[in-house]
């Protein structure tokens, strides 16, 4: 009965490949997020999304794109992977902007070789 789940937990791939990370929440929340944690443990927002709008952090390359098949899922697609994309990616969700306590998934460690 995990609240926010991500797959895979680990992902090793080569430069230039395209990959996806899946995220699902069973909390009935309206808003989902993707965060990136770099090698220095710094966490930074990449996207936030609800059924009305997608908000993209301006520093995120357009090789990254979120896809939401339904309210419970927000997948992260990454095209043309680069070495600098290696990081831990966290998915999170919250009820709605007025009740914004965010709950995080376990993270996906992406290694680009």
């Amino acid at each position: 009965d995990t609240a926010v789940s991500q797959t895979p937990k680990y992902l090793v791939t080569q430069m230039g490949n395209d990959k996806s990370i899946k995220c699902e929440q069973n909390l009935g929340h309206d808003t989902m997020y993707w965060y990136k944690q770099d090698s220095k443990k710094f966490l930074k927002i990449m996207f936030s999304y609800n059924n009305k709008e997608l908000i993209i952090n301006e520093t995120v390359p357009n090789r990254f794109s979120p896809k939401s098949p339904d309210k419970a899922h927000l997948n992260l697609h990454i095209n043309s992977l680069e070495l600098g994309d290696s990081a831990v990616y966290f998915c999170a969700s919250s009820q709605d902007p007025s009740d914004n306590e965010q709950y995080f998934g376990p993270g996906t460690r992406l290694t680009v070789t």
Binding site: K41, L43, I45
Partner: protein
């Protein structure tokens, strides 16, 4: 954007000791959360505390929103408290991105037996 500063950056405690972690933020906030990232990388919600005081077992937190800071108290520390403690805030301004969390750089806590 909003600035979040956490102190101290590193802390080593003897088991059983008490500690106080501080989070300063540069602007008004709608949301403030404390997280514990354990050695396995999991982000665990500790407190959702945009203002006031909350307690949960050996942990408590206080946010003084008017003075733009929050404190996390850990009493009778245990080795399982080791990890990185993050403060994250949602700035109080309208417009795009107003419900995304901005994280501090964290306090790395090591509790030794």
């Amino acid at each position: 954007g909003i600035q979040v500063e956490q102190s101290p950056p590193d802390l080593i405690l003897q088991e059983g000791a008490n500690s106080t972690l501080r989070c300063n933020f540069s602007d008004s906030v709608n949301n403030l959360q404390w997280f514990h990232q354990n050695p396995w990388g999991q982000l665990i919600n500790l407190f959702y505390i945009p203002s006031g005081t909350k307690q949960n077992g050996r942990l408590s937190a206080t946010t003084v929103a008017t003075e733009r800071y929050s404190l996390l108290y850990i009493s009778s520390s245990q080795t399982t408290d080791s990890g990185v403690y993050f403060c994250a805030v949602e700035p109080r301004y309208s417009g795009a991105g107003s419900y995304q969390l901005t994280f501090g750089k964290g306090t790395k806590l090591s509790v030794i037996p």
